[in-house]
């Protein structure tokens, strides 16, 4: 690649150091605030004895539902991820391998593209009325359904890219030997796209965990997810900055864990569609 020498190399390293600092510093500063008492935050004190008060208060105090919020987010993110992987992978295999008429594939993919481009808030209104009508308003089930739908386009495209990369010959050879199409899918194609399944699964989980606009409007007090709870922290009449910082830091833990342990898959998933 491009090799920098002499002064330009030093300038390059300094610019990169600045970039890393700008990316990381906000996170560290907020993390610092989360270990301070409210009064210390308001006074802008830099060096204090760290305290776990905010974390204890957010997680275990009587006033806080944060543990419930975490459980809700976990349930919704996990179940919507499993379902979207199932539905999305099947659809991707279907479009990649079975002989659908061109217009059916075009309409399906075109519609997922359009759906992915419109702001989700355009659909939250009718979702609200429909779920209210059938008695699912403010349930985790309804929220899970919407998250499956929101993540479906991404999952289908990503898995299609993985299936399209697999040589068809392996499955065809197996089918010549008497293997049914369904076995070719289950025993040959599916194991070979496991990295894709992990990438799509990790991203679907994170997007569901992060999703706010729909959760804000379709959940109630008992079913609120973590992002909704964080928004409430900042909308209260008297904002508790320390708790807001602590809750925000806590909410980033799943993403950070997945980023450090599953980075290979996340990077592959995020870049695959773009580079191909």
């Amino acid at each position: 690649m491009l090799v920098l020498r002499g002064y330009s190399r030093i300038v390059g390293i300094l610019l990169l150091a600045l970039g890393v600092f700008i990316i990381v510093a906000p996170f560290l500063w907020v993390a610092m605030q989360s270990f301070k008492y409210e009064i210390q935050i308001l006074q802008g004190t830099w060096f204090t004895m760290p305290t776990l008060y905010n974390y204890i208060d957010v997680l275990w105090s009587q006033r806080s539902d944060f543990m419930t919020n975490v459980a809700n987010s976990m349930i919704v993110a996990t179940s919507s991820t499993i379902c979207v992987l199932l539905v999305g992978t099947l659809a991707a295999y279907s479009l990649s391998r079975l002989k659908w008429k061109r217009w059916i594939a075009a309409v399906f993919l075109g519609w997922t593209l359009i759906f992915n481009m419109i702001p989700p808030l355009t659909l939250v209104g009718p979702w609200f009325l429909i779920f209210r009508e059938i008695g699912l308003y403010q349930t985790l089930f309804a929220l899970t359904l919407t998250h499956i739908t929101l993540n479906l386009p991404m999952t289908v495209w990503m898995m299609m890219a993985y299936f399209n990369e697999l040589p068809k010959d392996i499955e065809e050879a197996a089918m010549v030997d008497g293997c049914r199409r369904i076995d070719a899918f289950w025993r040959i194609a599916l194991p070979l796209v496991r990295p894709g399944l992990i990438a799509a699964g990790v991203l679907a989980f994170v997007f569901s965990w992060n999703e706010f606009a729909v959760a804000l409007n379709l959940t109630g007090r008992a079913t609120a997810t973590v992002p909704v709870a964080i928004a409430q922290f900042s909308q209260q009449y008297e904002v508790q900055n320390g708790q807001m910082a602590a809750a925000s830091i806590l909410s980033t833990i799943p993403a950070l864990l997945l980023m450090f342990f599953g980075q290979r898959f996340i990077v592959q998933g995020l870049t695959m569609g773009a580079v191909k």
């Binding site: 990169l16 279907s94 079975l98 399906f108 519609w111 359009i114 009718p126 739908t149 993403a255 773009a274």
Partner: protein
């Protein structure tokens, strides 16, 4: 087992999996179609019906009244919607432009490093997957007029504290800065993968022929990266157009309408003013505009492909 059997010997073998195998198309694509019909097509049909009505709740019952014309009139005279469209356009244009330049610069710089690429990439892409709401509340703390770290720095160098989110002229810039922090890493990630995939012989050949660093960057690397740059910019434009979470947290559209964007206006009309009918009218307009936009984009790109 199935692999070992000859095709002739497994004629009609009754069973669920055989039934599924014979209708595999519908069993594989079917669930996705059902989901999309129930949760996107049907709601949009609903949306069209709602757009022609006024919906009120009385004792828990919905009362629908026909009011297509008044909803249309409201749409045409909704000054805030116009402001929201304008702000969204400014927001998307500036944030995406800045992100592309910074992301491209970082991608080329990191790829020019001899070692430490892995750790640099890890550190630089942290913001991508953080919850946007958490990013909003983190920056709200940093932007705080009284104790935020940014004003500590500003006053530290002897200037007056800045009202980052509370002044009409600055608020939109402040939320754009948050967007740049959040999404430059994404642009960097896409372009870094593309830079690393470039053939190194081309750049070495140019170097041997005496090309300087800048001319290599502008005459070789950037032209070769064009497809990836276009894709990253499109991705970002779409996301910027849909932005909601961070702005809801940071300013809720204020002060005044200074940071009002399309999604936020939709939210306010639907869920704060409870105007389901008018909100639906606006949604239909937005969806129709999106479809036209995609269609034009498709025509343009296929026309460019033919040239």
């Amino acid at each position: 087992m199935a692999l070992a059997q000859a095709p002739a010997s497994e004629a009609p073998r009754p069973g669920l999996s055989d039934f599924i195998d014979r209708h595999l198309g519908w069993f594989t694509l079917g669930p996705a179609i059902v989901l999309l019909v129930l949760l996107t097509i049907y709601p949009i049909v609903n949306l069209v019906l709602m757009a022609g009505s006024t919906i009120n709740f009385q004792q828990g019952h919905e009362i629908w009244k026909f009011s297509l014309w008044s909803n249309l009139a409201t749409l045409l005279h909704d000054g805030i919607f116009g402001v929201a469209l304008r702000n969204t356009a400014i927001y998307a244009a500036i944030s995406v432009a800045v992100e592309m330049v910074l992301g491209l610069g970082l991608a080329i710089l990191v790829s020019s490093m001899r070692r430490g690429k892995g750790i640099l990439r890890t550190l630089l892409i942290v913001p991508i997957l953080l919850p946007p709401v958490a990013i909003g509340s983190m920056w709200k703390l940093m932007y705080s007029f009284d104790f935020g770290v940014l004003n500590q720095i500003v006053t530290g160098v002897g200037l007056q504290p800045v009202n980052w989110l509370g002044s009409t002229s600055l608020a939109l810039m402040s939320v754009i800065i948050v967007d740049v922090w959040h999404w430059t890493p994404f642009v960097f990630l896409i372009l870094f993968a593309a830079v690393e995939g470039l053939p190194s012989e081309v750049i070495e050949a140019a170097r041997i022929d005496g090309a300087g660093t800048w001319s290599i960057v502008f005459k070789i690397i950037i032209p070769l990266l064009k497809p990836a740059i276009v894709v990253a910019a499109l991705f970002r434009m779409i996301l910027a157009f849909k932005v909601f979470d961070e702005i809801f947290l940071l300013t809720s559209g204020g002060p005044g309408n200074a940071t009002e964007v399309v999604s936020l206006h939709l939210y306010q009309v639907f869920f704060e003013q409870n105007q389901l009918g008018y909100g639906a009218m606006m949604s239909v307009a937005i969806i129709a505009a999106t479809v036209v936009f995609i269609w034009i984009g498709h025509r343009v790109s296929s026309a460019m492909g033919r040239l």
